[in-house]
């Protein structure tokens, strides 16, 4: 019952859930960003357990190593401080938090009770880079090309949006 697979799943899952809850609990955005990085690293571990080794590496390189760096840069450059407390509704807090917890526990119990017990083995579907590359460039070639155009548009849009608006007429500077 208590296999190494289950222990590793629970360990990574606990880190992921702790990171997600910490993202909500922290007031300073930099702490939330670091919690999100912990969530992504834990999810990379989960992907490894499911056999998706290429995806785990890509998750660390792209998500935790590039996208979150972008977030951290923005927080540093905009000097985001501690969040201000805005006027919240006390009724919402009183009913909302227990309500959400109750609803999620109910949903989880239903899912766990009424699904089969067939297990997903560790490394069930080895996602070697070669195999994923085959799929990506044969069956999924059109989405691949479209997403590359999408990224190009996103880069151009980001550069235009974040550049300073032209204020004074441009002088000829050498």
């Amino acid at each position: 019952m208590l296999s190494v697979h289950l222990i590793l799943f629970l360990a990574f899952g606990a880190v992921a859930v702790a990171g997600a809850v910490n993202l909500l609990a922290q007031t300073h955005p930099i702490n939330s960003a670091l919690s999100l990085i912990a969530v992504m690293a834990a999810l990379a571990g989960e992907y490894m357990l499911l056999g998706a080794e290429f995806l785990a590496a890509v998750q660390v390189i792209v998500y935790a190593g590039a996208i979150m760096v972008l977030f951290v840069f923005t927080i540093m450059l905009l000097n985001a401080g501690v969040e201000e407390r805005t006027k919240g509704s006390r009724v919402a807090t009183m009913f909302g938090i227990p309500g959400v917890l109750l609803g999620s526990v109910l949903l989880g119990w239903v899912v766990l009770r009424h699904s089969g017990t067939e297990a997903v083995a560790a490394g069930a579907l080895p996602g070697a880079p070669a195999v994923i590359g085959q799929l990506l460039f044969h069956e999924f070639l059109l989405p691949f090309e479209i997403t590359s155009i999408l990224i190009l548009i996103a880069i151009m849009g980001a550069v235009v949006l974040a550049s300073k608006p032209p204020s004074a007429p441009a002088r000829k500077v050498d």
Binding site: I30, L34, I37, E53, F54, A57, V58, V60, I61, A64, G65, A66, V69, V72, F73, M76, L77, A128, P129, A130
Partner: protein, 343 residues
């Protein structure tokens, strides 16, 4: 192999690799000081032990006994965590590096590598990506204009050159067909015409090697790309507010990254541990590690030689070089390699 023996072997290998790496880091510092000193027509460390060989021990003692001052205005959790992040990920990336063929001890064949993952090269790239956080968070948590600017510049530089670093490796991957570092080295065995070794640098990856070298120098923040941490610019960049042991950790992380880069260049472009094998069986098991070490030494010497010779780039020159020259060149290398292999 039974599981407990596997774990025991892994622990012993990790301990050995860690000890050897830390000693190598300390003596790389010594080597740098000696070589740069001789290039500048002076001696370098000579007083502490013969040829100054005990200088790293004196440096270590200095770092341990220096006052570890935490300025009051810093953001304390990240201030303490940033050098830890830098050094942990710098030391972790060595775990994928194979040092030689398998040795046979007591009937079990133990590969000379802490762990051999199918996607070993990708894991090393991932660890390098996470290492950027040490620099960025150090700059921010120091609560100091110069540290923040230095940290942002350094991390922007590292993120920009990561792309060229990855692309320069794709040429090698196309030629060897696998991400596993052991497979890449094994595909470089053998010789052309009996004496030219079949290393990747001779089978067409010369431009790839050039791109990798430039990108690696920028990733490790070494001259000519070390503007973010040069002493004459921005005070000292992201490690301005750090003293004693925390500064020593950044220092160690930088040199450990240098050694990892040298290991990777050896494995990917220079045949890893392939070299002439001779002698009895026990010597034949040790010789590959010796060739590997010799090649790494050559790379570290190249690093130090470049450091003593070249001036540094200005920041806009640095970023322009990365985005406008190195990235198109790496892409062209990938395309040319793919076309050459497809024919």
């Amino acid at each position: 192999m039974p599981i407990w023996l596997y774990i025991l072997a892994s622990v012993i290998k990790s301990a050995i690799v860690l000890v050897v790496l830390l000693t190598a880091v300390a003596y790389t510092v010594w080597l740098e000081r000696k070589v740069v000193g001789h290039m500048q027509n002076r001696w370098g460390p000579t007083r502490v032990g013969p040829f100054g060989l005990l200088q790293p021990l004196a440096d270590g003692a200095k770092f341990l006994f220096k006052e570890d001052l935490t300025p009051p205005h810093v953001y304390r959790p990240l201030y303490i965590a940033a050098p830890l992040i830098a050094v942990i990920f710098a030391l972790t990336s060595i775990s994928m590096i194979p040092f030689g063929n398998s040795v046979t001890i007591a009937g079990y064949s133990i590969p000379l590598q802490v762990t051999d993952v199918n996607t070993g090269l990708l894991v090393i790239l991932g660890i390098t990506s996470i290492g950027v956080y040490g620099v960025a968070l150090a700059g921010w948590s120091s609560n100091n204009k110069y540290s923040l600017l230095g940290g942002l510049r350094a991390s922007a530089q590292m993120v920009s050159y990561e792309i060229s670093l990855g692309l320069s490796l794709v040429g090698v991957l196309i030629m060897s067909g696998s991400f596993s570092l052991r497979d890449i080295v094994n595909s470089q065995g053998g010789h052309f015409w009996g004496f030219i070794p079949r290393w990747n640098i001779f089978t067409g990856q010369f431009i790839g090697f050039f791109c990798y070298l430039m990108a690696a120098y920028a990733e490790t923040n070494r001259i000519p790309f070390d503007l973010p941490e040069a002493e004459t610019e921005l005070v000292a960049g992201y490690h301005t507010e750090y003293s004693a042991m925390k500064f020593a950790m950044f220092f160690m992380a930088e040199y450990a990254n240098m050694i990892t880069v040298a290991c990777l260049a050896t494995l990917l472009f220079f045949g890893g541990w392939n070299g002439p094998l001779f002698g009895p069986a026990i010597l034949q098991a040790i010789l590959p590690v010796f060739w590997f070490g010799a090649k790494i030494f050559a790379f570290l010497f190249l690093y130090i030689w470049v450091r003593g010779t070249l001036p540094r780039f200005r920041y806009d020159q640095l970023m322009a070089f990365g985005w406008k020259f190195l990235l198109p060149l790496s892409l062209a290398n990938v395309i040319a390699t793919a076309i050459a292999v497809a024919w």
